[in-house]
């Protein structure tokens, strides 16, 4: 995990992060990411039916999830969720203030907020913060820009991939915040991605949706879905060359780079999961379809009994079989094969004798892999989760609104 964010490494972007006093800790809490010119922009937002004011604003700007925009302003420390019409005006004001400074209409600036919910933003502080961040926009502030979107995150999470597409060097960079659904009252997964690739908005959106499906949408810390989850990708086109067409080798290369960045960020979110001590990969194959494989994998990854067993280093195949069996995916005990760390522990409808020491050693490490072959078809999906520890309870029960 690089310690430094590279969000402005792709050509055509500037960024800044400043502290304006929303957070009581004095850490950065306002970030602006701006493109030099209008950039192809694609967005994926939460499926929760209760959404924050910034999500409502962004959906107005990009009703189909893509279009052209100049940038995004993000604040942390307050999520501007369930704040009514006044909250929506605050989101709009954030866009307006930013737009005025970078020289574009408010409708070209997206907004994201993360932190406590149900409280109005301290707009005096936000106003000052946006002004200061706009003054500092440049290439040397990537780390501060990353910190400006963080809440209870314990790690700085960023990723960058450099590749060749259509004879041009293309960079894809991303930052993300999130460590459980909560924090302090309800946190959020926010990810910003920049690239200098030349790609049209609709195609960028298609690539982003595909990349998110197998990365951000494959992780689960606690099965809860934030009201503010937002992933935004900006493509400046500064790498030059012809716009990436759909379906060809160039598109596949771009999608691979984007998926790699999203995958690294998604992994980092799980590793930073509340109370997590292990990263757990649940691979389901042999399902009747990819969709059923996803349902089965998520059922295991979300099961508190499975997650506590992993925490305790217990090779408990019963809990894995139970979680598969309770899911809406077709499962037949006799066809099921379960491996932990590559060792078969269940097959033919019953537990096998296995090298317990070897499996316990694997479970004792920081990365655990569980393979479930349903033996029914070709569907597959990999879910990422973490273990469930006392620390999760401590973080979530002892925090008071």
């Amino acid at each position: 995990m690089p310690k430094v964010s590279h969000i402005t490494l792709p050509g055509g972007f500037v960024a800044a992060g400043v502290a304006c006093g929303i957070k009581t800790t004095g850490r950065e809490d306002v970030t602006i990411l701006a493109a030099d010119r209008e950039a192809a922009t694609a967005m994926v937002t939460t499926r929760n039916q209760i959404v924050g004011a910034p999500v409502i604003w962004n959906r107005r700007l990009l009703p189909r999830g893509y279009g052209r925009a100049r940038g995004i302003v993000v604040n942390s420390g307050n999520s501007n969720v369930c704040t009514g019409k006044a909250g929506l005006r605050d989101a709009e004001t954030m866009a307006k203030l930013t737009a005025r400074r970078i020289g574009c209409p408010a409708e070209k600036v997206l907004v994201a907020s993360t932190g406590i919910i149900g409280e109005r933003l301290p707009m005096g502080k936000v106003r000052a913060g946006i002004a200061e961040a706009a003054d500092r926009l440049g290439h040397g502030n990537d780390a501060a820009a990353l910190r400006g979107i963080m809440t209870t995150d314990t790690r700085e999470k960023s990723a960058v991939v450099i590749t060749r597409i259509g004879g041009r060097t293309v960079a894809v960079a991303g930052i993300v915040k999130g460590s459980g659904m909560i924090a302090p009252s309800m946190a959020t997964m926010i990810s910003l991605i920049t690239t200098d690739a030349s790609i049209r908005p609709a195609r960028l959106h298609r690539a982003l949706k595909a990349a998110v499906a197998t990365t951000f949408n494959a992780i689960t810390v606690d099965s809860d879905t934030s009201t503010s989850d937002t992933v935004v990708a900006f493509a400046s086109g500064q790498a030059g060359g012809r716009a990436i067409a759909g379906g060809g080798a160039d598109y596949r290369k771009f999608l691979a780079a984007l998926t790699e960045v999203c995958g690294e960020l998604a992994r980092a979110v799980v590793v930073d999961g509340e109370g997590a001590t292990k990263l757990v990969e649940v691979v389901v194959r042999g399902a009747r379809s990819d969709a059923e494989a996803k349902i089965a994998a998520k059922s295991v990854a979300d099961s508190p009994l499975f997650k506590t067993a992993v925490h305790g280093g217990d090779p408990n195949w019963g809990r894995i079989a139970m979680a598969l069996g309770k899911s809406a995916a077709k499962v037949v005990a006799e066809k099921l094969r379960i491996r932990i760390g590559g060792v078969v522990i269940f097959s033919g409808g019953t537990g096998r004798t296995f090298d317990v020491k070897k499996v316990r050693r694997h479970l004792g490490g920081s990365e655990v892999r569980v393979d479930c072959d349903l033996g029914l078809g070709k569907g597959r999906f990999t879910a990422l989760t973490c273990d469930l520890s006392r620390e999760y309870i401590a973080i979530n029960a002892d925090y008071h609104t």
Copy 2:
């Protein structure tokens, strides 16, 4: 909660519970409940696709979920799940041994097992246990019979209701075991219900399904579904009178009594939930349908963030709104009203100022009530859950298979 089981209070039943050494603790681990004659019998079993051998056996006996049977033999300490064909033979043997002693074909005896999974039953001990239990069948062993179905339960859970139906005094009694999905490796909810009401098998089944829908199927300790959940009701008809017909006042009275028994037992399971310190009632009304109300209520009751907030005594409406919003039930923030302990804390799309001391006092008690009015229709459902504590993690992470 009565400390003594009354499972043989309804006329026409005998029971016994003995210790045969499956449990290393020396506690009772084999229970037989037998009707003097063939009784109307109805059964509801787990929806998990991976099921234990006893569930397979019972489904063979009662393919439509009802019929006539003489009784059930239960062992605790070993669930006989994922034990292959040998396990199924063991279940059949348990039925045969019991049938021989009470004088009926094996096909008239149901079987239930609960405890560790994936291990063969110690059939020598089971055989001796069944013989001893059969010898002791009578009316003075209800408490031992209840203990014989328990695993990690910390409380003895039973209920009895006496009512008048069609001019006759009718008793409905029940016992239940279960405290989380697990324990020691994967536990089970098993409930046995007896009544001396005169009712045909199909009608008893219909009543049992209706009663279970709003009681046992409304509770959640950890969102995991056991591979062995079984509820069986036996009706001896000894109360006399005409068989209870469908739809009339007699049926409604019987259903009310059965629902009361199931409700009391279900509540007791939640109170005995692993690590639970509070009983939490989540009432959803105003949903578009009862089905959507159930989805919404269960989404809240299953949310680890909600459950940890309750554990911490935190009036965190954000987590409740989040859990409702992420569910498949239709939710509109502006129409939603949330109350804790009767105090409105969220309405009109945002949090209200409320008497924090009063709400915290309510959350500090042993019974917590959360009301969510979705404001969209007439659907309603009440889910029962418990809080999520460090103790849950301790129980489930520190246990080793």
